[in-house]
């Protein structure tokens, strides 16, 4: 990317709130039902029906607002956004416009140079989701499924503070982690529970006013966000460097072709005619409500990271990785608290072997076959020298396969590490006696041969000898 251009990005993240029923109706929000079986009369915009607001969406929006240190509106208002589209049954979307429930807030990300950077949040407002159009296999028709219509969304709008696709992704990950921590969204991107639109523009470095922006619609994975923004930035710079002008337009990212293209349906200039929804009254929240919600908030990722560094003496990188998800942090913490082993050793296992194994199987930490208590038991046996690193991996594999706790596996497979000096000494003596040539070479100064001797001892003991004890004893005897 050219050094002469500055990239300016703002994100609008739509996160689906994890309620049982819809924002304005009692229909289920469960994913994956047969078409239109979860679209009740209110969701379908039937003549005469009326919306009634779900109390959970108010609580969830308040949780989010407090987590990003935002102003919570004591009075917020639902408005109608009017436009015609087949997936929008009433011909208007109920949203918040002038008076959203969450006002200005902020969060911090790491910028491209690894420094902490503040990103402003303009607002977050509640709205209802639209349905889905299915275009394939219907012979010139589109089919409309309104199961998703009326699903509650929190739209989180950032300030145009992001300066690269990487920052945008890092901001989006941070929001993702916050909503998951708060348990207000499942954050499932495949199912569309967490998606974003990006407003992208470029301007000559040093210029004050913003360039013309393009809006990239419906980016539903972190990877697509990065790729789509990068594609769009290059496209805009190319246009500008050729002396052209960027058009303000809405673009759809095509992940198959890795390119953006204009959305045909949005070509017509929209005039949404927002006005307060007369079917809904202002939402009023008092201080007591806000304080009760505040008291219910879990520890947030940044605070948890600092605490992990302090309480468990973890390295900052490890603390950051472990606190990126609440479930991972909880796993780590319960393992660290359960065992007598070192917390850093627990962290290493969680970040290393456990995460590796989970990724390989495509599992979440919540569905890990190895429980936190099991992992704690394993680390304890390493710390008390019962297991060598090599044996520990074998035990871990056993736990993964469902063979039981570390101690059960150690007993069943006879994997106990030999730390008893007399038992080891006998083997060491045998190895020294059996390899006179190597002993002579070692004594002549070929230090590297120590590895050979250790290997021989381990081989004889089936890997069970404590490597530290072996090493020390060999050095004593060989140099003696």
């Amino acid at each position: 990317m050219s050094r002469d251009w500055e990239v300016v990005i703002g994100l609008e993240i739509h996160t689906q709130l994890a309620t049982r029923s819809k924002i304005f109706s009692g229909a289920s929000t469960a994913y994956g039902a047969a078409p239109n079986t979860q679209a009740c009369l209110v969701d379908l915009g039937y003549p005469g029906v009326l919306p009634v607001l779900n109390e959970q969406v108010v609580r969830m929006a308040t949780c989010f607002g407090l987590a990003v240190h935002a102003e919570i509106a004591r009075r917020s208002v639902f408005a109608r956004k009017n436009y015609f589209y087949p997936d929008l049954p009433k011909g208007y979307q109920i949203s918040q416009y002038e008076l959203p429930i969450v006002g200005r807030g902020e969060l911090f990300i790491e910028d491209d140079d690894g420094n902490e950077k503040r990103i402003g949040i303009t607002r977050a407002h509640l709205e209802e989701d639209a349905g889905k159009s299915i275009h394939e296999g219907l012979d010139g028709y589109s089919g409309i499924d309104l199961n998703r219509a009326g699903t509650p969304l929190l739209e989180i709008v950032s300030e145009p503070d992001l300066r690269s696709a990487k920052e945008a992704v890092s901001y989006m990950r941070k929001i993702h982690s916050i909503v998951r921590y708060l348990e207000i969204s499942d954050g499932n991107m495949q199912e569309g529970s967490f998606r974003c639109d990006a407003n992208v523009s470029v301007r000559p470095r040093g210029q004050k006013e913003l360039g013309t922006r393009a809006e990239l619609k419906n980016l539903n994975s972190f990877r697509f966000v990065e790729k789509a923004i990068n594609f769009e930035v290059e496209r805009q710079i190319e246009i500008l460097e050729d002396g052209g002008t960027v058009m303000q337009e809405t673009l759809l990212y095509d992940s198959d072709k890795d390119e953006t293209r204009p959305m045909r349906s949005k070509e017509e200039a929209n005039d949404y005619r927002y006005f307060p929804d007369p079917d809904l009254l202002p939402v009023e929240i008092d201080d007591a409500y806000i304080e009760a919600v505040r008291a219910s908030l879990p520890e947030m990722p940044d605070a948890k990271k600092l605490r992990f560094m302090k309480e468990y003496e973890l390295k900052i990188e490890d603390a950051a990785i472990l606190t990126a998800s609440r479930a991972l942090a909880d796993y780590f913490e319960s393992a660290a608290l359960a065992g007598g082993g070192s917390a850093q050793a627990v962290a290493n296992w969680v970040i290393g072997d456990l995460t590796g194994a989970l990724n390989k199987e495509g599992l979440d930490i919540e569905r890990s076959p190895v429980s936190a208590a099991q992992l704690a038991g394993l680390v304890q046996r390493i710390d008390d020298n019962t297991l060598s690193g090599k044996l520990a991996k074998e035990v871990f594999d056993g736990m993964w396969a469902g063979e039981g706790t570390a101690d059960e596996i150690i007993a069943a497979r006879g994997l106990r590490q030999i730390s008893d000096s007399s038992a080891i000494e006998a083997v060491v003596d045998r190895v020294i006696q059996a390899n006179p040539t190597q002993v002579a070479e070692f004594r002549a100064g070929k230090d590297k041969l120590i590895g050979f001797f250790v290997g021989q001892v381990m081989k004889e003991t089936g890997g069970k000898a404590n490597p530290g004890v072996v090493n020390k004893m060999l050095l004593d005897k060989l140099s003696g």
Binding site: V58, V77, S133, G140, Y141, G143
Partner: protein, 95 residues
């Protein structure tokens, strides 16, 4: 203030209404009269007045987050002219 043909065309498009030629001509004339009539609102002494959206001064009531509606699709869809496999059909949408 009166409305010209382009404005009426634009409004009819926003409202998704196809008008016959007679209806269109009549709309230009009648809408102009209506708009001229409501124009007198500009003279009302509204400085500092807070707009009134509702006739009652109440706050929004909240509903418990419970699933109360079941699947009634087949009965409901009897009102739809064009459905297939539970989907409402419209001429193909190009995104």
């Amino acid at each position: 203030m009166s409305l010209d043909k382009d404005q009426v065309q634009h409004i009819a498009m926003l409202a998704r209404l196809r008008l016959s030629d007679t209806e269109f001509a009549e709309s230009v004339e009648k809408l102009s009269r209506i708009v001229a009539f409501v124009d007198q609102l500009k003279n009302a002494p509204t400085a500092g007045v807070v707009p009134m959206a509702h006739p009652v001064n109440e706050a929004q009531r909240l509903r418990a987050d419970e699933v109360t509606e079941g699947d009634d699709r087949d009965r409901i869809q009897q009102n739809a002219v064009s459905v297939s496999d539970g989907l409402y059909l419209v001429p193909k949408v190009i995104e």
